[in-house]
Amino acid sequence: MAEALLEIRHVCKYFPIRGGLLKQNVGAVRAVDDVSLAIPAGTSYGLVGESGSGKTTLGKVVLRLSEPTSGEILFDGQDLAALDGRALQEQRARMQMIFQNPYSSLDPRKTVKSIVAEPLVIYGRARGKELDDRVRSLIATVGLRSEHLYRFPHEFSGGQRQRIGIARALALEPKLLILDEPTSALDVSVQSQILNLLLDLQQRLGLTYLFISHDLGVIRYICDHVGVMYLGRIVEQAPVEDIFSRPQHPYTQALLSAIPEPDPERAFQPGEIKGEIRALPSDYAGCRFAPRCPFVMDRCREVDPPLKETAPEHTVACHLF
């Protein structure tokens, strides 16, 4: 494997639950629990899972928008979790985030120009004529025209707003983009435009993506590696083709069978997976998927299975393997 641009080692993020008379800690929500992954430069890593699985929290922890409880986040060989102040700010410029909802992630009172220019101004990277040129070229990169510069976000459609968000994220010439459900608020025809734009930008600018989504079709189209998350744990990790052709964890299999394919000839056989994702008691020690798993064994309820390599680069956390 090539040199990893981002490597996460045993990262945990616990949110305390306070209760009782003195509002003491009575437990913790283990939103991200001992997650490790590595993303080689220039590739895309897809993080899949249902709501509440901890995907977004992990994305925020990587940027240190949320402080990790423990673990190491190595970005270009440097541990972000140990950085502070100026040094952290410098590193943050090299990784940017694109958010799910293009309606709430843009300031409605700013013009497109000032939205896209803001990161450059904050970091003092450009001013005056140069700033203007940079903004114009960024806008062109994402497929907008210079006549759009002095308009406000409400004058744009969802897809165009997402393009503005991408232009803003690219302003500081980052190496890593964290994309949190960038297309789930968009219509299919617009979604395909944005997905192709992202692929195109990755090729041209050599970007690395951490792509968070619950849409497996989108993940398959964009990503090289996939990690499936369930209640804070990565339960399966593999190259994209492997995940889709040989899913091993019962949860991955269920997730794949639950996607309705746009082909009426293909029989839809969902329902292998019962119930819903649900927080478990803080002292629960078994496999988190056990309460819903069709293949559950006694051992699953007592011992949490570690990630085990079952094929090259393919790891699964399940007692069946």
Partner: protein, 362 residues
């Protein structure tokens, strides 16, 4: 399935919305027919008029700003446009059930599921008078008896839709339930009056895939059991393919293609339908080959003349740019398509053409 009387018949429906910026022509001649037992998928992008079309049946379009300008909506053979408000209330309570997209906003957060379900059951069963709105209502023993019966109905319905332990958990408040459970409650509520028509407006969009699969499975079961006719609004083509038997594709206020799901998915005819089907990344899509529909949906205040899809269409001809817009041309297999390419009964091979003229950049 008798093909006799259609449950819903929408003919040339035109709806305008009067806004401060001008008149927005939201629907311009929508034709739609649902026969008993149909599960019709209404597909299209945001702002194409799917929801307005569906809301025209129970006449729930907000007026003003909405306004019926032309055409007719018939439900069980009677025009809903001529009915009085009281008749409409009766129709909505007894014959039409609705499930909305966001289960979080469609349940009242300050009442328990029991209070809401019981009231819904009472209304739908024609005992709206027993709803506890007034101060001394709950004191009348006849009302108490009705409420007790309604509660039994509610529990039975919740049981049917897979709500766990309904006898106890009916006392929960909406925030104590997950999204999937809330959607089940709404489905149960909509079934209380044994409706003829179920309108489901994006019922699974706010849910996770595994929950979506469960809810879709449930809807399929209920259709059989309650002899429902369903109008399913969605933008997810996968959902349509797996649940519906017929499909109508809308674009900017008009149905541009309709037919059986099998035919439309296998041999889509309208360039927009083709574009839509190719824009979804599936398990077979090779990276970099996902097709786009260029451009965006038109502004309804100043829509393009002729076919409203022509500025984005790869097969645009001179006829497309001028009024009148193309009428529905019948094709083999019962499909109908509104596109000038089919004017002479010919069936051009668009799929091949699209391969050459599709995605230009790379």
């Amino acid at each position: 399935m008798s093909a006799a009387e259609p449950v819903v018949e929408i003919r040339n429906l035109e709806v305008d919305f009067r806004t401060f910026d001008g008149v927005s022509k939201v629907l311009v001649g929508v034709n739609l027919e649902l026969r008993r037992g149909d599960i019709l998928g209404l597909v299209g992008e945001t702002g194409c008029g799917k929801s307005v079309t569906a809301l025209s049946v129970p006449r729930l379009i907000p007026m003003p700003p909405g306004q019926f300008v032309g055409g007719d909506v018939r439900f069980l053979g009677e025009s809903v446009l001529e009915k009085s408000p009281a008749e409409m209330r009766e129709l909505r309570a007894r014959h039409i059930g609705m499930v909305f997209q966001d289960p979080n906003t469609n349940l009242n957060p300050v009442f328990t599921i029991e209070q809401q379900m019981v009231d819904a059951c009472l209304c739908r069963l024609g005992h709206a008078g027993a709803v506890t709105t007034g101060p001394f209502k709950s004191w009348r023993s006849s009302d108490r008896e009705l409420r007790r019966q309604a509660r039994e109905t509610a529990v039975a319905l919740l049981q049917r839709v897979g709500f766990p332990d309904p006898e106890r958990r009916i006392a929960s408040y909406p925030h104590e339930l997950s999204g999937g459970m809330r959607q089940r409650v709404l489905i149960a509520m909509s079934l209380a009056g044994h409706p003829d028509l179920l309108i489901a407006d994006e019922p699974t969009t706010a849910l996770d895939v595994s929950t979506q699969a469960q809810i879709l499975g449930l809807i399929r079961e209920l259709v059989q059991e309650f002899h429902l006719t369903v109008l399913l609004i969605t933008h997810n083509l996968g959902v349509v393919a797996q649940v519906c038997n017929r499909v109508a594709v809308m674009y900017s206020g008009r149905v541009v293609e309709s037919g059986s799901v099998r035919r439309v998915f296998k041999a889509p005819s309208h360039p927009y339908t083709i574009g839509l089907l190719r824009a979804v990344p599936t398990m077979e899509t090779v990276r970099g080959t996902l097709e786009e529909i260029p451009g965006t949906i038109p502004n309804l205040l100043t829509p393009p003349a002729g076919c409203r899809f022509h500025p984005r269409c790869p097969h645009v001809m001179d006829d497309c740019r001028v009024d009148p817009p193309p009428p529905m041309f019948p094709l083999e297999g019962g499909t109908e398509v509104a596109c000038h390419l089919y004017a002479h009964g010919a069936r051009p091979n668009l799929l091949v053409a699209a391969e050459h003229g599709g995605r230009h950049d790379g």
